[in-house]
Structure formats: structure tokens, C-alpha cells
Amino acid sequence: MFSLNNLSFSYKKRGGELFHDLSLELTAGNIYGLLGKNGAGKSTLINLMTGLLTPMSGEVTLDGVNVRDRLPKTMSDIYLIPEEFDLPHLTLKQYVSINTPFYPNFSMDDLQRYLDIFEMGGDMDVKLHSLSMGQKKKVFLAFAFATNTRVLIMDEPTNGLDIPSKSQFRKLVTTGMTDDKMMLISTHQVRDISEILDHVTILDQSRVLLNASITDVMSRLAFRPMQEGDQPLFVQPSVMGSLVVVPAQPDEETAVDLEMLFNATLQNPDAINQLFNASK
């Protein structure tokens, strides 16, 4: 559905390639988590995916159409929720009537439902610029989901949300997801999203260190307290003793801990790579 083909990119002023020959394939029906440290290239990758930046070579295509052509058909199929944004001096009602013509699958019922999830429902006459940052984010998220674009890309969507709304965000994603949509969530807040992902992509120093489904991760790695004889890929001290990431035994299935997976991958990229490239 969504293909990144041999992308190379650099910001000229910095010199040096940020991405070299990077390829990724994203398919409908999946929720992707894009994880990486600050400066790993997550936002640049998102800007390339949405046609906001032009790769030096390679291309990004949605159903075979280059997103950089920014055809109306492509643009009405992609919604980007950037990390920072501002809302205009309009009421919600005005904002909706101005923006919905670009999104043929927009649903007013869905918008109401998603606003209700965030406890922001009811008042369509609310002035958007008078809202707090967190409330703006909730309205923006609810609107983005209600456009029902097939591709939804979110850059740090839970930043600025209060404690109850992290759970509401998960409800929004699990309610709004359908088999014909693809979502990508770029974040540092892995605990906010670990149970809603299908797939995890770890980016470091502009390289894809790991790109695997959660099912695949679960069949190859175990996350649990240390046992005798373990040769862990990563050790994390905790009040219950040492927690480890180790290659999974046959039939050993544990819940994937994204934070530990991330740390294990950054600490031991070659071992992880070898493990995931071995046939199963």
C-alpha cells in the first residue's frame, strides 16, 4: 500500500546523507510504531512520507502513485498530525466546514464520537484559539481521525496530553482503526502505545535497526526476570530483580516490553539483526 523505495536524503546545510537507500513497506490494516531517539530522523522520515520533503533519490508511493506529486487523490488519502501545530481563529464548526471538502470520507458522526472519547463533545461553537494546548491536540486528533483517510501519520501524538487522555488516545486509535487503514505513530512515549501496535520500526542514526511485527518479536524474544544460564541481550535492574531480554525458547511467549526492546536493539543491534533475519 505505502512504499518507501530506496530513499536517500540530506539537509544540504548539514552535509552528509541523513538517509541512504532506505526502504520500508507499510500495509493496510496495521498500526506501526516508529521509535527512535531525538535526532534519529523520525520527523524527517515522516515529512518524506507525506510529500513535504523531496528525497534526493528514491520515492515514496501510495498505491503506486508518488506522494511528492501531491495529487489531490493522494492528499485526500493522507492525514498528518504534526508534533507542533496551531489552530486558526475559528470556531470548530467553521474549521470543519472549511477543511472537510478536502476529505471525501469525513464523517460528522465520527467526529462527535471521537470528541466524546476526549470529553470534548457538544460545543461546535467553541473558539479553537481559546483552547489550551492539550485541548487543541484533542480536537485536532478527533478531526484527523474523522477524516477517515486511509493513511494517518502521527508525530508524538500523546505529547501534551494529560494522564487520562493517554488512555483516551488509545481508545481513539482502537475505535478508529479499520482493516483498510494504515496508521503510523512516531513517539518516545512507548508506554502510552505499546498494546495498540501491530508492528514496530526502530530508527537510529538514520538506519532502520529493527522492523518487525509484534507477533514476530514475541516469537523471537522473551521479556522476563533473569534466570540462571540466561545470556541476555539487555538487562534492566528493577525492584523485582533483573529483567532481561533474551532469545525466546520454543513455546515461550511473553508480553513485549517496547522500552526494553528499544534499549536492547540500540545496545545490541547486530545480535538483534541476526536473530530477526534467521528463518523461523
Binding site: 490494516g29 507477533t215 521479556f223 526476570p225 511473553t254 508480553a255 513485549v256
Partner: protein, 120 residues
Amino acid sequence: MNFKDNKAIYLQIADRIGDLILSGALPPESKVPSVRELAAEIEVNANTVARTYDYLQQSGIIYTKRGLGYFVSPDAKEKIVAIRREQLMHGEMDYFLGQLKAVGITPVELQKMYQDFLAK
């Protein structure tokens, strides 16, 4: 829902559904929530819930009626009890008995404790 222990999420969800069946909240032949409904309710990926339902179906705890969704099997309770008994005997019990041995609790003492517990 909290995922405290390290059991795979899809199995934790299966345990939760098992609890609902054992408590009678989900009686035999009642309809199980759809994958998407349950996923939204517990804020978990729908494919994870689908995996739970596959597992419960393979275990004979739920069954599918074409086009209507999943339903609780007539003998679901017996099946859950059998599975949990098996898990207890081969998992937690080993650990528990090891602890008893470590602190020197005799079989006679254990028997009395269990009898007292059942009499409560």
C-alpha cells in the same frame, strides 16, 4: 486493563474472558463481543484480540457462527477449569511447593491448612 505480569497479552485477555465465563457474566451460548468492540474497550490492538479468539476457539471455549460472530461453548466452563488445573499443576504449584519445602512446611501441616481453608 493492566498488564503486570509477563504473560503474552493475548493470553492475558484470554484469562480475562475465562474469568467472565467462570463467574457467569458470559453464560454458555451467549455472544462474545466482536474483536473490534473488545479491542476498543480494553484499548488493545484488534489483531491481538483476534489472536485471543483464535486461541479460545482452538481450546473449544468459544465457537463461531458464520456471519454472527463468536459464542461461548456449552461446555466452556469445564474446558477452562481443565486448562487452568493443568496450568496450576505444572506451573504455579511447582513454585508454591518449592516455597513450602524451603521454609520446612510438612505435608501434614499443609493438609491441615488446606482443610481449614476449605472449611472457612
